[in-house]
Amino acid sequence: MKGHRSAVIDFDVGLRNLDLIMGCERRVVYDFVNVINGEANLNQALIRDKRSDNLYVLPASQTRDKHALTQEGVGRVLEELSEDFEYVICDSPAGIEHGATMAMYFADDAIVVTNPEVSSVRDSDRMLGILASKSRRAENNEEPIKEYLLLSRYSPERVKEGEMLHVEDVKEILALQLLGVVPESKAVLTASNSGVPVILDKEGDAGKAYMDVVERYLGEDLPHRFIEIQKKKLFGRLFGR
């Protein structure tokens, strides 16, 4: 959407879903593992997004073989992609197993998506530990992976009631730079139901929050939104909008 040639790879081997969220599930022919095994080349496997000319999706394999992603193979594909794309986004599965380690191993930057919930924050801290010790950059003693926090499903109302962790608390516990806060929003489910990424919803809060995230990541200095309770605007009320 910002004009950068980008590819997204689904690393969730065995549980392919990114294609569904992106609305391209019926155009999947070859997948990531096919490319690694040389059964297809990248051009055959990459699916071009219908809405965004610069965006391509590389779907996950549905194989049950957990170790279908070899480090050497993943490295090779990423290397090839980086010749043609400005940004390669590796969508990591949950957990600390093989798929997740493969998704993070070659990373330059990491966006840790967390919910304001104890289990999610704790798991994020574990992931940060792995990012800092088991990545290629760590192993080669290079500059560490840049880490960012993306807090999702945030509800300022519940924070005010003391029922939800405050974004500042999560930031403090994880000691991360905040890339953005995405509010809890019905638009997210609507978006996944219809296979249209929520960022395309330009009116909704979640869509705006994700666009902010992209712009901040690309270096713009935007104030954080959706952290405070949004009051109905006085004029909005007066004129019944």
């Binding site: 919930e117 104890v118 924050v121 704790r122 801290d125 574990r126 530990g129 300022p156 924070v159 005010k160 009631e161 003391g162 029922e163 939800m164 962790l165 405050h166 500042e168 608390d169 516990i173 405070e228 309770i229």
Partner: protein
């Protein structure tokens, strides 16, 4: 309290979010220690405690074994509270 904190929706203490934060702070620092320690540590701890108890009559929880990491140096801290 910082200037900005004043505007923060300050949750009242005793609410579950405060509890969540406290639990997380403890948990996370514990996790970090554990993640950086070798897997034999729990067994070694147990055996160390056993040896000490063979010579000194102390409670199980009077002995604490901690592995700390300071830079590249690892420190094993053994703490025994002896009876009066």
């Amino acid at each position: 309290m910082g200037f900005l904190d004043y505007f923060r929706a300050t949750p009242k203490s005793g609410k579950s979010a405060t509890l969540a934060k406290e639990r997380l702070q403890i948990l996370v620092s514990h996790d970090r220690l554990e993640a950086n320690s070798p897997s034999y540590l729990p067994k070694m701890k147990e055996e160390l405690i056993e040896v000490i108890r063979k010579y000194v009559d102390v409670d199980q929880d009077a002995v604490s074994v901690k592995l700390e990491q300071k830079g590249s140096r690892e420190m094993l801290e053994l703490n025994v509270v002896l009876p009066d």
